[in-house]
């Protein structure tokens, strides 16, 4: 069955969705969507680094994403530039540098589109090992730092006053984002990675009553989006990465629109009951 390209694609997508669900929740809670974008956009530069140094492109991506994430963490300490300006500069600057850098790599064939938008249907068995190995590390590490990370997310100063080592937790979380980006790159492409991180999390918010529920739901919703998007991609011959994001978007609209509709109906029902108001 693993010989079948569609089964491999499904397996790879599910692996990525499982790993990014909880991380995506923290990204939403900590308002780091643009932070994730900046890290993802630097991944192309990582490919250039990997190919240029003659090492595995995945290794190059991980190194570059970590470097970018730490640079961002460092630059956010300064007060001269607003954070969103800084993120805009680094995200687009990083992408442009990557695109320019890739044009120098004449000797090697680099499939630019597959890095930008992902190439889930071409996932190999070896890449599945990489996705599940890396994804397992991401999930385990997220579970390990869950308590202090949640405390820092609720209120950083409170956590610091209570003895949580805030700096260490932030660095660990940043490294996890970098690793997750490197894992998701093949599946969804660097342009749309953040969508796979935050849309399932934002969808889960509607249905969850606790942080843990939201994290698990985000993973489940991500898996459903991957399965739905891939099947849609096959049925209508649409690009697979964007199709997954469209499926996630549909789930988001369903959860939020459905809930709004339900509360509107309940409101009308209450208003129509005689004797009330």
């Amino acid at each position: 069955m693993l010989d079948d390209f569609f089964a491999r694609a499904l397996l790879g997508g599910i692996g990525v969705a499982l790993a990014t669900g909880p991380l995506g929740c923290f990204m939403v809670w900590r308002r780091m969507a643009y932070f994730g974008d900046s890290v993802a956009h630097s991944a192309l530069l990582g490919v250039v680094l990997g190919v240029g140094l003659g090492i595995e492109p995945n290794a190059g991506i991980v190194i570059m994403c970590i470097a970018m994430a730490l640079l961002l963490l460092l630059l956010q300490q300064q007060r001269r530039l607003a954070t969103d300006t800084l993120l805009g500069i680094l995200a687009h600057g990083g992408l442009a540098l990557g695109l320019v850098g890739i044009s120098f790599l004449h000797s090697v064939r680099v499939d630019l589109m597959s890095y930008l938008f992902g190439d889930i249907l071409a996932v190999t068995g070896r890449e599945l090992v990489w996705i599940y190995g890396g994804g397992g590390v991401v999930l385990a590490a997220t579970a390990l730092i869950w308590r202090p990370l949640l405390a820092v997310t609720v209120h950083e100063e409170l956590a610091r006053a209570e003895g949580v080592r805030v700096g260490l937790v932030r660095i660990a979380f940043t490294l996890l984002i970098a690793l997750a980006v490197a894992i998701a790159m093949k599946i969804i492409g660097l342009i749309l990675i953040v969508a796979l991180l935050i849309i399932p999390a934002a969808t889960a918010r509607r249905l969850a009553r606790s942080p843990e529920q939201m994290a698990v739901l985000a993973s489940v919703i991500g898996v459903v989006a991957v399965a739905g998007g891939l099947h849609g991609s096959l049925a209508w011959d649409t690009p697979s990465g964007p199709s997954i994001v469209v499926a996630a978007l549909a789930l988001f609209a369903l959860a939020h629109g459905g809930a709004a509709l339900a509360s509107a109906c309940v409101g009308r029902f209450v208003a129509s009951v005689p004797g009330k108001h």
């Binding site: 949640l150 997310t153 609720v154 100063e157 409170l158 610091r160 006053a161 209570e162 009553r209 606790s210």
Partner: protein, 279 residues
Amino acid sequence: MSAVRGAPAELLSHPPVAAGRLLASGRDLTVRYGGRTVLDRVSIEVHRQEVVSLIGPNGAGKTTAIRALLGLIKPDSGTVQHEPGVVVGYVPQRIEPESLLPLSVRRFLAMAGRRVPGDAAAVLDEVGIAPVIDRQLANLSGGEFRRVLLARALLRDPDLLVLDEPIQQVDFAGQVAMHQLIGRLRDRRGCGVLVISHDLHVVLGATDRVICINGHVCCAGEPKAVSRHPEYVSLFGPNAAAALAVYTHEHDHSHGVPVSVVPAESDLTRNASLSGEAD
């Protein structure tokens, strides 16, 4: 210690410790933001079984002073020392719960750590938040949320409780209850309490020592004596001093801390830019 557990007034588990030991001290703390001196050689000490009120007008540097004392910011000069192993309960002034984070009050309290299960209900009753225990944090009113924060700090079983404007957004009955609570924490638990307020007459009832700051330390000492200090009167006006008389604290015992007014040494040497408000 098991004998006292479960008694609602007792609140917390470990037995009172001898009064007077120094819990935390900041000496000559100076903090500058962008060239402006926000805090000028301010010294704060909190001992066990002592309530210290930090008062001063808006922008006097009160929050900056406790943030430096708690190690949340690094002062430009001065030293901070904590007794080893001291557990801090901190109630910050402003905290906005993230609405995208589904967190119930119960769960938020559980995150405080060090909780003794039997105590939770007593603490919740004490601060009057038992009815909101299953609500989502993001749906609480400002006053409710402040009390939840206080409960969380208490559940940590703190040696040192630091409250930044605890009675903000709390009604009068709540303020009275708060002062009774602070007094109880000190007397029964041996907790050291540091309270910040800009509204002085409501904090002083339960206070052993007052530190009045406005960038620098204006004056410090026993509440009644501080209220007669010329620099205090010039800062808050004679009405405030008169109002204070109503709220003088009534303790017939001493806590082994200095009670005389210590004119801040910086009075004489203070830099010119800060001396304007003295007279």
